[in-house]
Symmetry: D2
Subunit: 94 residues, 4 copies
Amino acid sequence: MNDRPGYAPTKEQMRNRLSRIEGQVRGVARMVEEERYCIDVLAQISAIQAALDKVAIGLVSDHTRECVIGAEGVQRAERTEELIEAIDRLVARR
Amino acid sequence: MNDRPGYAPTKEQMRNRLSRIEGQVRGVARMVEEERYCIDVLAQISAIQAALDKVAIGLVSDHTRECVIGAEGVQRAERTEELIEAIDRLVARR
Amino acid sequence: MNDRPGYAPTKEQMRNRLSRIEGQVRGVARMVEEERYCIDVLAQISAIQAALDKVAIGLVSDHTRECVIGAEGVQRAERTEELIEAIDRLVARR
Amino acid sequence: MNDRPGYAPTKEQMRNRLSRIEGQVRGVARMVEEERYCIDVLAQISAIQAALDKVAIGLVSDHTRECVIGAEGVQRAERTEELIEAIDRLVARR
């Protein structure tokens, strides 16, 4: 039975997503090598970005539930700040 | 004295940021009206997007500290899910 | 009759979009004033950002068709570089 | 001598960037396997996304200069539309 909340992937799901992303990046390298049409390569890159966003959101969900809510006092405050900084970088992609 | 964490704006700061953004949007409308150079209008829109990201991150920070950590049990779980959904929309801008 | 390509808005459409966005920003300011639920404010901000993206894409379309393709030689090369820089800022939101 | 405009990478640079990104994705998979701290994994994902944005901008630059400007008439109009759609997907990450 799986009672995990919607956004929280299992480790198995994370592993599969990342191995699929790795294959997609290799696919883009191959497309560039074969001088494929830029627009098709761009569509592939957008798909990878969306897949990475999904992995990132899964990690944000895990961190919030396990590291922030599971902590107390000063440690919880610190981890909340770290989380907000990470979301900030994610939104601005830097 | 201000002991609020770095990402958490005061209500006064939020008010000022939003009124500045409103002025920037009006500025873009004026630039379009005057048929100003597209690239200058685009730079202005990017600045507004970055300012809106900052407002959003402030709200995420508030929500995490007040609504998620401040809640208990089922309510906390629900609010965490709502937060993750909001971050997901923010990252993907939809 | 309207034979403009899909992404190229008329000036009237741009004007309407920007005035709607201005109203939405005022709405967010009011929501913050009334201490409305953060998640609802965040949904509103995501909607504004999606609307601004649409305005930006319209300008990119205009610039490409009018300023880049319509130019020649060195000027065209310069405008292409400006366009790519603007897209770079747009993607990275800075 | 390299007289390519600033945003246009050589094929060699593209190849290197993509092979570095592939290594970074493998690194993230390893971090998840080793249950590394979420925040560190998120920082790594943001770095990959910024690197992919750079590759995408390079392709947009190539496409604009070679496929759009280099074409004529109906074909040029079609390729411009394809380019704007690709930028739209890139900005909205879908």
